[in-house]
């Protein structure tokens, strides 16, 4: 729990500890996007024809789409032709063993507190390391393979497991789902792929660590996780980026598929560079995450701790198709300075006796805006469906905003849907009580906020709490802004 206090302290003090840049030679495509660029990315990745065509189809749809404008965030227009869509550290070929990795990249992850090794502190976690547009390493692959678990970069999956990729890619988030998902479908470069076979309980946490390093680029990763019947997997995602004055676009797509009796637990600690105190720079985090509980009794659980990014636009969602399936969303969104977060979830109840639970905690400080936006939809056939939603917002200071925008749509008589929300500031009484027991004011605030978020923080897997502590506890010498 003390890590949460540290998290908050570091966060509210405005010091971003991962803002350094790695001096590594990168291959970057020139800025701009057209069919030629997409063909080049596809060719560079030696992709099969069907995927090139799939990308092009997405691109054509994207061109006809307008950027969404319903969310409660404002930003200057993005020039999509000014972004470079592919950046990768120069290397002849993907290193054969972990020992062959570029020492600069290796050092980067050391500094970030997640060294590329299969030992000690990370013994319980297998990590896929994504550096700008490519995956540079994946640990414990062989050990997982013994159980039939596939854990690799999506590029490798396209090559080694084309039938799985072809069946499931775009099956949850179709190419034309929304503007950013369409863009991602056209230009996605790397990301992680997980397949857990029938009846297998993945013995360790799987994790991807995303790092944006190059300037003038965007990151467009694609993650696909398939949990076959009766399997279980817990997946973790972390991310950081250097401090820059420019805004960089991160438009990822994550698709989860849970078959009968399968369970996927997906956790995120989002710590992209949030911009400086004046709101300059920072990542635009426009992400589409969606899971489908396709099987009976399947379960998908999203947990997110969102502290980074200049703008966050994401709604990790669950389509509860299988009877008796369960969707969960636990979220902490903390914004400070000029950050804007518009985040929440969608729970689409299709199957009978489907259940969902939403716990969202928003904390706004400085001049930031934090919005919870959520949809609970009970379709006609979802007999006996249940949803419970709790949204609480905490305001720190009188220049910020906290907003709650829930949509509840019910079309089945036997469904029960309950939504509760509160907004308040940190109680003066609580602050005084803590201070009179000896807590300095900042610690008292951290303590109270920590208590406010506990329900969500408890959902993070143990291994991740350790990783998160490492991530957040690290101090950096010579950070470059």
């Amino acid at each position: 729990m003390s890590s949460t206090i540290e998290t908050l302290k570091e966060h509210t003090s405005g010091e971003y500890k991962y803002g350094f840049m790695t001096a590594v030679e990168e291959e970057t495509t020139p800025p701009g996007l057209d069919e030629e660029v997409i063909r080049r990315i596809s060719a560079r990745k030696e992709e099969p024809e069907w995927l090139t065509e799939w990308r092009l189809a997405a691109y054509r749809r994207w061109r006809a789409m307008a950027e969404p404008d319903w969310q409660k965030v404002t930003y200057p227009p993005i020039d999509y032709q000014a972004i470079s869509y592919f950046a990768a550290p120069k290397q002849k070929e993907r290193p054969k063993s972990l020992d062959d990795i570029d020492p600069e990249i290796r050092r980067t992850y050391e500094k970030l507190g997640i060294p590329i090794r299969e030992q000690e502190i990370l013994a319980g976690v297998a990590v896929d390391y994504v550096f700008d547009s490519v995956s540079v390493a994946t640990t414990f692959k062989n050990k997982l393979a013994e159980l039939g678990i596939v854990f690799c970069s999506i590029s490798e999956a396209v090559r080694d497991h084309p039938e799985l990729v072809r069946e499931y890619l775009g099956s949850v988030v179709p190419q034309g789902d929304n503007f950013f998902a369409a863009l991602n479908s056209a230009v996605f470069t790397d990301g992680s792929f997980v397949y857990v076979p029938k009846g297998v309980r993945c013995p360790m946490e799987l994790s991807t660590y995303f790092r944006i390093n190059a300037a003038g680029t965007g990151q467009f990763e694609r993650t696909l996780i398939i949990a076959d019947e009766g399997s279980y997997v817990s997946y973790l995602e972390g991310c950081t980026a250097p401090m820059r004055d420019e805004n960089q676009l991160h438009a990822a797509v994550v698709e989860l598929i849970a078959l009968d009796d399968a369970e996927i637990k997906y956790s995120t600690v989002q710590n992209w560079y949030p911009g400086d105190r004046e709101g300059k720079g920072g990542i635009y985090n426009f992400v589409t995450k969606r899971g489908i509980c396709r099987g009976r009794r399947s379960k998908i659980s999203w947990t997110q701790v969102e502290t980074g990014s200049a703008i966050t636009w994401k709604y990790p969602s669950c389509i509860l198709q299988g009877d008796d399936s369960v969707g969960e969303f636990y979220s902490v969104a903390l914004t400070n300075n000029f950050q804007q977060a518009d985040t929440g979830t969608k729970m689409i109840h299709i199957g009978k006796r489907t259940r969902s639970r939403i716990v969202a905690k928003g904390i706004a400080a400085g001049r930031s805006d934090s919005t919870y936006r959520g949809l609970v939809r009970i379709l006609r056939g979802a007999t006996g469906a249940r949803n419970h939603t709790q949204c609480d917002s905490l305001l720190i200071g009188d220049r910020c905003g906290a907003h709650t925008v829930p949509y509840i749509e019910v079309r089945n008589r036997s469904a029960e849907v309950e939504h509760e929300a509160t907004t308040s500031k940190i109680s003066e009484d609580q602050l005084f009580y803590c201070r009179s027991r000896g807590f300095p004011e900042e610690d008292a605030v951290a303590l109270i906020v920590n208590g406010f978020c506990r329900e969500v923080m408890e959902e993070l897997p143990m291994e991740f709490a350790v990783e998160a502590r490492k991530l957040l506890g690290i101090s950096l010498e010579g950070s470059v802004g």
Partner: protein
Amino acid sequence: MGAATRRIDPPPFYGELFARERTRLPGHGRAALDRVREEAFTRFLGLGLPTQKAEAWKYSPITRLANREMALAEPTVPGLEEVSAWFGGGPATRRLIFVDGHLQPEFSHVGGLPAGVRVMGLARAIETIPEAVAEALAGCDPERAFSQLNAALTRSGAWIELADGVALEEPLQLLFLHRGGDSAVMTHPRIVIRLGRGARLHLLETHAGSGSGHCFVNLVGQAVLGDGAELLCDRLQLGGSGLSLLARGFLEMGAGARLRATTVALGSGFLRNEIELRLAGREGEAILSGLYMPRGEEHVDTLVRIHHEAENCHSDQFYKGVVEDRARAAFAGKIIVHRGAQKTNAYQANNNLLLSDRAEVNSKPELEIYADDVKCSHGATCGDLDPEALFYLRARGLAREVASSLLVYAFANEVIERMADARLQALTRRAMLERVPGGAALEAEGLL
């Protein structure tokens, strides 16, 4: 998802109708008023008809209704009993009675008003205080297409003005009868209320309509409550399948002003209530309650927006719905706490009973908060009757059907209880009971 898809151009008949009718509208020839109508109509064309892509109309398919060719309703004369069935208040209650948007002087009675009180039909107001009317119409609700259409075409309604410190003890009733006709008609009533400092008014507003003829009512009410003023408002709406009632209230409240409004929207083919409320002075208080009970193919929706603009204000929204058959209900309530509106207390509850598998409930309780020292909360629920309560009643010997009826009645009655006028409350309760499955039996068995 561009702005273009959020509106459509109004069909040409609107322009033709305005061109045809403008010279017949009250006050025609008075330059100020003519200009206001002209500008409002131009604005209406520019704003266009909202589609369901427009957030405020997400659950409300209005374009289909507003797109049908309609004419302004012609006056007809009902029988007294048709009107008196909807009387609220007591023997001394003053009433303005409108039939298809036309004031019926023979049934109306607003005489003997105390000093400092002015109550009259809108047409009369246009005759006597044209500048004030023009000003009221011009300044109100510029971003909403239907409000602009109303300003352009209104020809009846009520002008109610109470001077500082004046109280009207007996309730004042505005009774609207929407009969419709063979061809589709529309009316655009306008209610203007001005309460001086410390003035007090109890208003009853009833809408009734039995016909199945298409009648599109585009009502706009605007009220300014001075510091310390008090407005009590009881509203009952019950129309036939042909009635589309769009009722918009736009209120501005001064320091220490108080509003208590209870709206019971039992049903109509299409019924939409909008309340936009500005708590502009310190320590204002607004308590809004509502009940909706659509059945059959009816659609009822409610949109509430409360702006907390000043410190120490209190607002409370309490809305309940019972939705049956293939009916659809929507509730969108929003609390906006503006920067600096510290010590705001705002609550919002929306509870729905969904009693059919073909029915639909949509709820969107929303908070938008820019001040930190506030206490705001909302809750929304949707479900069937509480099985435990049902079991309890059955264990006490009530048949299942009777027990369900009783629970539905009790659920709905909680809102009706909040009406201040006893006669209208009784009337409303009867009409509500008629909508509760097995409700008549409840009454017969003396369970109430």
